[in-house]
């Protein structure tokens, strides 16, 4: 039986507004929401990623934006994964007694057949996660670039994912 999918794209911003660069996913998702208006749904995620699975399972297109941490890459650099078709390049998936990580939520959704039709994860490389700090300048630049790329992509420009594709 085929799944009746919601065609409106869902843009999910992950992070914590109060922890420096960790807010970049939220910032970009909200900016994309402003650009796209009613054409997309925006979800700002603060808690349990297991909750995300039920949000995205019946969607045609989902975009997740989150801060990432790689000391080998430049601050503010943007990466994009086609998460429906490939594994995220996650070196160490932390597991907590409280939460599944976003990476684990995606992998669990794959096992249970709860992935959306198309699923892209945008990671913006960031280093500063101190409480109470604003986003660093390089991450701000990356955030603006990611906003523009994701908006163009959602507007139908399939070449718009002009970022590092993993």
């Amino acid at each position: 039986m085929s799944v009746q999918r919601v065609s409106k794209p869902l843009v999910i911003g992950i992070g914590n507004r109060d922890r420096g660069d960790d807010q970049v996913g939220i910032y970009v998702a909200e900016k994309v929401g402003e650009e796209m208006g009613a054409a997309v749904d925006v979800l700002i995620h603060r808690g349990d990623p297991a909750y995300l699975i039920e949000q995205w399972e019946n969607r045609e297109l989902v975009i997740v934006i989150d801060a990432m941490l790689s000391e080998d890459e430049a601050e503010g650099e943007i990466f994009c994964w086609d998460a429906a078709n490939e594994a995220l390049a996650v070196e160490t998936a932390h597991s907590s007694t409280h939460h599944l990580g976003v990476h684990e939520a995606i992998e669990l959704a794959k096992v249970l057949g709860k992935m959306p039709g198309k699923f892209y994860v945008y990671g913006i490389n960031a280093m500063a996660y101190s409480a109470g700090q604003p986003m660093s300048s390089r991450v701000c630049v990356g955030a603006e670039k990611a906003t523009a790329e994701i908006t163009r992509f959602l507007q139908g420009d399939n070449n718009a994912r002009n970022v590092i594709i993993k």
């Binding site: 808690g47 349990d48 909750y51 932390h94 907590s96 007694t97 939460h99 992998e107 669990l108 249970l112």
Partner: protein, 430 residues
């Protein structure tokens, strides 16, 4: 020749806390065990000073993304204790329903996603789901029902916003609550299946003589009210908490260790509640508990997963019981007026007793705040467990022993715990 071994957890997962484990033993004698918590202090108690008493539920809800209701409930009850407020019985019942939702969410996340893989031999739930897809699917569906309770009564799933001192900002429509009640009835069957499933796991042979501490209420299984009692005769009000318990700083942890002044370590959480309040469980929950063969008191912490699943069943049963005959209050909240006073409250968070104390001045400004979360109270007991686990399971391989240590920590569903990826065993010969 003596063998010295060290189990180290260099970095414990992010989110609610950051910490590490260091465990050193010579042959089968543990010389040192430290559950290190190096999460930077978050200073919530200082943050509350100078804020209005009405802000405490929303500020403290931010302490935890998984159990914000517990922080809200302890905060509002402490403020209502300070102001000597009488709460409408219908509001009180609805608070119990909200707490049921949080227990369901929190317990199911732990049972299915975080704890069950320990028993079934998987590194995580993703691997487990390949062999147990129906069970994991059931866990997600049940958790979704808990989310619905919190969303409807609390205003949203995460960090609910509908709780205020004196009651709620808005009472949900009765029709919506009735619809929710029907969903809960269907989900309750799945909760029973959860108990039966986890009861089939193999449990390590391990028991200790703990002092269990929990709320106790003459008419109900405890959520929001009751006296603080223990398995060794403690029986005090929340106002006597500070005289009975003390928090101490240990150099390797930014989280204070709480201990009974007279006796030291104690155990809070589902097993404590279950052992001290078994008679207040619903008949259905007691029947299913008996079916599992659990005998009181439960003193094997590895069996906490069964107890947690029974509390999930109880939470469904209790929410249904309340919603079936619930009538809305005349007003969503009781009006409040500030006065200089001190208020105390303890409620039962998913992982155990949560104590709040506030001092407010005549203008309603908070002048002092104290919050003692359950994980702080269980830290010493977790360390004592780890010290006992090593000699008890000395025959295990290094890798299996490391896993058993991690499993021991997860028995408590603590706010910080270990990730298997960071444990290392180092062997030295002396």
């Amino acid at each position: 020749m003596k063998k010295t071994k060290t189990i180290k957890v260099d970095y414990l997962a992010r989110v609610e806390g950051e910490g590490a484990l260091y465990l050193k033993y010579v042959d089968d004698k543990v010389e040192e065990v430290r559950l290190k918590i190096f999460e930077p202090p978050r200073f919530f108690e200082a943050l509350l000073r100078g804020r209005d008493y009405t802000e405490a539920p929303d500020i403290t809800a931010r302490i935890c993304g998984i159990c914000p209701v517990a922080y809200q409930m302890s905060a509002v009850h402490a403020m209502e204790n300070a102001l000597q407020l009488e709460i409408d019985p219908a509001v009180r019942e609805l608070r119990r329903v909200l707490y049921c939702g949080e227990w369901i969410e929190s317990h199911l996340l732990h049972i299915y996603m975080l704890h069950a893989p320990d028993f079934l031999g998987y590194p995580d739930v993703v691997h487990m789901a390949k062999d147990f897809p129906e069970q994991v699917e059931r866990g997600l569906q049940l958790k979704k029902t808990g989310n619905k309770i919190v969303a409807l009564v609390g205003g949203r799933e995460v960090h609910p916003i509908n709780v205020r001192v004196g009651g709620f900002y808005k009472i949900p429509a009765k029709e919506e609550l009735q619809k929710l009640c029907e969903e809960l009835k269907q989900a309750r069957e799945q909760a029973i299946e959860t108990v039966r499933w986890v009861a089939t796991f193999d449990f390590p042979e391990y028991e200790r003589d703990y002092e269990f501490v929990a709320l106790s209420h003459p008419q109900e299984y405890p959520f929001n009210e009751g006296r603080i009692v223990s398995s060794r005769g403690l029986d005090i009000s929340a106002a006597e908490f500070d005289a009975t318990f003390e928090e101490e700083h240990v150099e390797y942890s930014t989280a204070l260790h709480s201990r009974l002044r007279e006796r030291g370590a104690y155990f809070v959480g589902p097993m404590a509640r279950f052992n001290l309040n078994y008679d207040q469980l619903s008949p259905l929950t007691r029947r299913i508990a008996d079916e599992t063969g659990l005998s009181l008191p439960v003193v094997n912490p590895f069996k906490s997963i069964i107890v947690r699943s029974l509390e999930v069943l109880y939470a469904f049963d209790e929410a249904i019981r309340i919603l079936q005959c619930w009538q809305p209050p005349a007003h969503p909240y009781t009006e409040t007026a500030a006065k200089a006073a001190t208020g105390y409250a303890a409620t039962e968070a998913p992982r155990g007793l949560l104590y709040h104390r506030y001092q407010i001045d005549a203008n309603g400004e908070i002048t002092a705040a104290q919050i003692v979360p359950p994980t702080s109270q269980n830290q010493k007991t977790i360390e004592d467990d780890l010290a006992a686990v090593v000699p008890a399971f000395q025959s295990l391989s290094d890798d299996a022993l490391r896993q058993r240590c991690e499993h021991s920590i997860r028995n408590y569903d603590p706010c910080i715990s270990c990730s298997t990826h960071f444990l290392k065993i180092v062997k030295d010969k002396q």
